[in-house]
Symmetry: C2
Subunit: 374 residues, 2 copies
């Protein structure tokens, strides 16, 4: 028997998905079109334009994969890596370690460079490893590490990638749309993201962009890409003229992504970044007033994902379930090393609004007061 | 500048996607839930129950992949195949050949058995190949070959798989929900499908079911599955208790799939199969009245996909574009060997209704008359 369902939108303040604006939700309901319908190609074309603006790139090969954000990681690595390629992965947490695992499954010789959880990796540590071996195929990194809330700056690593003639793959799943991501300006070769975080669309699509340098490397592969489903050449043959059939476009999600990208364009990137920054600052000062410890120092802190230590004596799961059931608010628990130790609070896309910050702080205040006075 | 868009639903009578019923469309618009929300798990649980009924299986491991139908093919093969495994692929067309290609990219030693296009593969041809080599890991086949409209019966091949101790992988992308698919009754080890054909949901998900025998084989792998995104062990760890995070569920598509499965259950499988069969017969006799040649003999013909030869002197692309622009109807063109030679007419799921057959026949009659009298 199904429990009664609420039609009231959950207030999503976890690590994603974020809330979806009504006009983006409405777009989901547009009539289905076939994968070769000329009217669909208009939608796909507009998505490409919107994504180029968002990624800040002129890369022609810019589109959305028919899978979640993690399909972007697999796509980037499976298309670039050939067996025994040397790959350096910059990892400061759970999602960096996923890149290590995926690169290994692509047959690469993988060299992880790790930081202590809660701190970014130092470029010097990366360079000292780069020096030790010749011929690096690529460096992969996470821009916004969602397990720790740490910002790993791209530019110093891009500079190393250029100097050591390696391609640079950047996971911008959490950052894209909420803070600057400069694909061309920084020199990123493949950048991928996800529809459901700071872009503000429903989950299920992975925006991706490929530099001419990366595309050239893919064209020169000696072996077929091990993934047929995520083979960039086949995918691009579909997205570009003359649109050779590869898979059936998840058209409802594409309508929604287009609508979300329109909202991004209307707001403007500087205003959007400023909104994420400003609401994060309101959240941080509110959390500190509640005597909650922010784990990441301000200079490494992400605006869209804030990590706080769970106070002594507060039961993690029960607290989050009460937030959900009594206040209709979701926040995230810890991952990996920080499981049970932290809460992860997201302010992403359409979730990143002043009244959501207020609702969360008020709810946490009520609950913390109950536990602390018990 | 965007062209004006119609909100009137396209009449989708191609090889899929098919039309989506209003209550399934409405389900898309339910509020987003996080991937660990207890209320989401209710949705996922109900999808599993609905899919087990539809696949006619008691397989515990039955769920929907976060990708299109082709992700089902890649998932099935990448999880079962280890490097150098011997794999037989039964191919009577374009989609059978895709299984050949995907199995090769998984590192298998692949032996295709092909038929002439428009005919199923004969079990004797399969057995004579099976006899020539020892130790077959699996046999893969397409139940309903969407490029030709040919029905490849599963039972004789399942019998061979048992006899030669191979696992059986069946692509039921086009058949599931429109004609009998008996996973347990026939002895299929992995069966996969797609949300957007005879199930009647929007595109973007791939239902899949795994037998205990196949699961055992996956548990005993010596190497990691080359796909992390489609690794069945990680996916199942998320779908089953205690729900370990792997990817962000495309929750909007899951709502719609659940609603579509409810409609399947309410109609009942025998009535649903009969509807597909009955409307196909109406279509076939109507097409013959229009003097169009059905390419597949009745005993090999699929109910949900009918292939007709394009009559001499009718321009393929122009004819289909006029159907689309003047009558709002989509039918499919030919694929592979039959490109430019045939039209593919689908009657799947919510598209498979008497008035759609009538509209198509009437539109084709009008257009054919114009061309023939020109």
């Amino acid at each position: 028997m199904r429990p009664p369902e609420s039609n009231e939108a959950r207030i999503l303040l976890g690590p994603g998905p974020s809330m979806v604006a009504p006009r983006v939700m409405d777009a989901l309901r547009r009539p289905i079109l076939g994968y070769l319908d000329p009217d669909l190609f208009v939608v796909l074309f507009e998505i490409q334009i919107g994504l180029r603006q968002l990624f800040r790139t002129e890369n022609e090969i810019t589109f959305a994969l028919p899978g979640t954000g993690m399909s972007g990681a697999e796509c980037a690595l499976a298309n670039l890596i050939e067996p025994s390629d040397r790959v350096l992965v910059v990892s400061s947490g759970f999602f960096g370690d996923r890149l290590v695992e995926i690169a290994r499954r692509c047959g690469a010789e993988v060299y992880p460079v790790r930081s202590q959880w809660g701190r970014p990796v130092e470029p010097e540590d990366i360079e000292s490893l780069l020096k030790q071996h010749p011929r690096w195929k690529l460096i992969a990194m996470v821009h916004a590490e969602t397990s720790t809330g740490v910002h790993q700056p791209v530019e110093p690593i891009a500079e190393l990638a250029r100097r050591y003639e390696a391609l640079l793959v950047v996971d911008a799943v959490t950052s894209l749309g909420g803070m600057p991501v400069e694909v061309d300006g920084w020199g990123i070769d493949i950048c991928f993201s996800a529809s459901q975080k700071c872009i503000g669309a429903p989950p299920g699509l992975a925006p991706i962009t490929i530099s001419p340098r990366a595309w050239n490397s893919i064209q020169k592969r000696r072996t077929a890409c091990q993934s047929w489903y995520l083979d960039l050449r086949l995918l691009w043959d579909y997205w570009s003229e003359p649109h050779v059939y590869h898979h059936t476009t998840p058209v409802s999600l594409m309508y929604a992504l287009r609508a979300a990208l329109e909202m991004v364009e209307q707001e403007g990137l500087p205003a959007r970044y400023e909104r994420h920054h400003h609401q994060a600052e309101r959240l941080w000062s509110g959390l500190q007033e509640l005597r909650l410890e922010l784990l990441i120092p301000p200079e490494h802190r992400l605006p869209m994902l804030t990590v706080v230590r769970i106070p002594e004596g507060i039961p993690d799961q029960e607290f989050r379930l009460r937030l959900l059931r009594e206040f209709n608010i979701e926040i995230g628990g810890g991952l990996g090393e920080w499981r049970g130790q932290v809460w992860r609070i997201g302010l992403m896309g359409h979730s990143c609004l002043a009244h959501n910050v207020d609702l969360l702080l008020s709810a946490m205040n009520t609950l913390l007061h109950q536990y602390r006075s018990a």
